[in-house]
């Protein structure tokens, strides 16, 4: 075992890793994501029993809920990063918030799509202006606005500060979404925490499947965040190098 690990480090020296900007842990997280996804799919399609009332389409739930969890965690991280950026002014927090917002947007989009595909056969409609659906759609719009701002505006500290404030304010919608099924009349099921308290999953196999899928999506979130964050750090480094190059070319031209 020791021989193979030392050979591995010789083939892939740390200098090469630094040049690429991708952390050494990233491939391992990718492999863990793949393995956990395969396990989740096996549990969803082979292990878990079919729900009596809704039938096979209820199995959307086992990926729909983890997508929502990742979206909420990502947007929570945007708010935390934004607060640290406003406090410390370090670019690293802005890069972390931007990367997290982008991933949160991907998973929030998946929540809306899979929810719609689940709603059609159960409710008879693709969409309804239910409190949970509406507040989730508002969250999607808010972070869509955040990402459009970051994509279209110049990369200045002022824009980053404004983005941090938008990221923090938009994240206030997350707790509203969570409590929406208790605050307002809604047709959205309250499965994880029912209106009477406790959870609505009757079979322990359903709980186990949801847990494994949630772990799989959490590891995938960590993997994607690591890749995208490293990429944004590389972009920051490239901007610095461009600045150095411009100075070097100007000084070379003077000679």
């Amino acid at each position: 075992m020791a021989a193979s690990s030392s050979r591995g480090s010789a083939v892939n020296p740390s200098g090469a890793k630094k040049a690429r900007g991708v952390p050494a842990l990233a491939p391992w997280l990718g492999v863990a994501t793949l393995a956990l996804m395969v396990a989740s799919l096996f549990m969803v399609f082979e292990y878990v029993p079919t729900e009596a009332e809704q039938g096979i389409v209820q199995r959307i739930f086992y990926f729909h809920v983890p997508c929502a969890w990742v979206a909420f965690a990502a947007f929570g991280l945007v708010a935390i990063s934004g607060a640290f950026y406003l406090w410390l002014g370090d670019q690293i927090w802005d890069d972390l918030g931007y990367a997290s917002a982008e991933i949160g947007m991907v998973f929030c989009t998946l929540v809306l799509i899979t929810g719609s595909l689940w709603a059609k056969p159960i409710w008879g409609a693709w969409w309804t202006w239910d409190s949970r659906l509406t507040t989730t759609f508002i969250l999607w719009l808010l972070y869509g606005g955040y990402l459009m701002l970051r994509a279209m505006a110049d990369d200045t500290p002022e824009v980053a500060r404004f983005g941090a404030v938008v990221g923090i304010v938009a994240a206030l919608d997350v707790p509203v979404i969570i409590v929406s099924v208790r605050l307002w009349r809604t047709i959205h099921p309250a499965v994880l925490v029912t209106r009477q308290g406790g959870h609505g999953l009757e079979d322990p196999r359903m709980v186990a499947t949801l847990l494994v899928a949630t772990v799989a999506f959490t590891v995938m979130f960590a993997w994607l965040l690591m890749l995208r964050f490293a990429q944004l750090r590389l972009r920051t480094r490239m901007k610095e190098l461009r600045r150095q190059l411009a100075l070097a070319e100007a000084s070379a031209g003077d000679l």
Binding site: A19, L117, W118, M220, L234, L241, L245
Partner: protein, 62 residues
Amino acid sequence: MQNFGYLFAAYSIIFAVIFFYVMFIWRRQAGLEAEVRAIEARLKELGQSSPAAPANSSRAGQ
């Protein structure tokens, strides 16, 4: 197997979206790495061709 189409569509879309997002990250990473390498090579070239005025000396002088 009623409503299997909805279930199939939901899982297909999840994996398709994640796949395309990972592809988007990898392609952008490759582009960025190539650009960083090109700039580093150009900086090295400029540093070698004008040893009297290395890249950092102009910044130090400002």
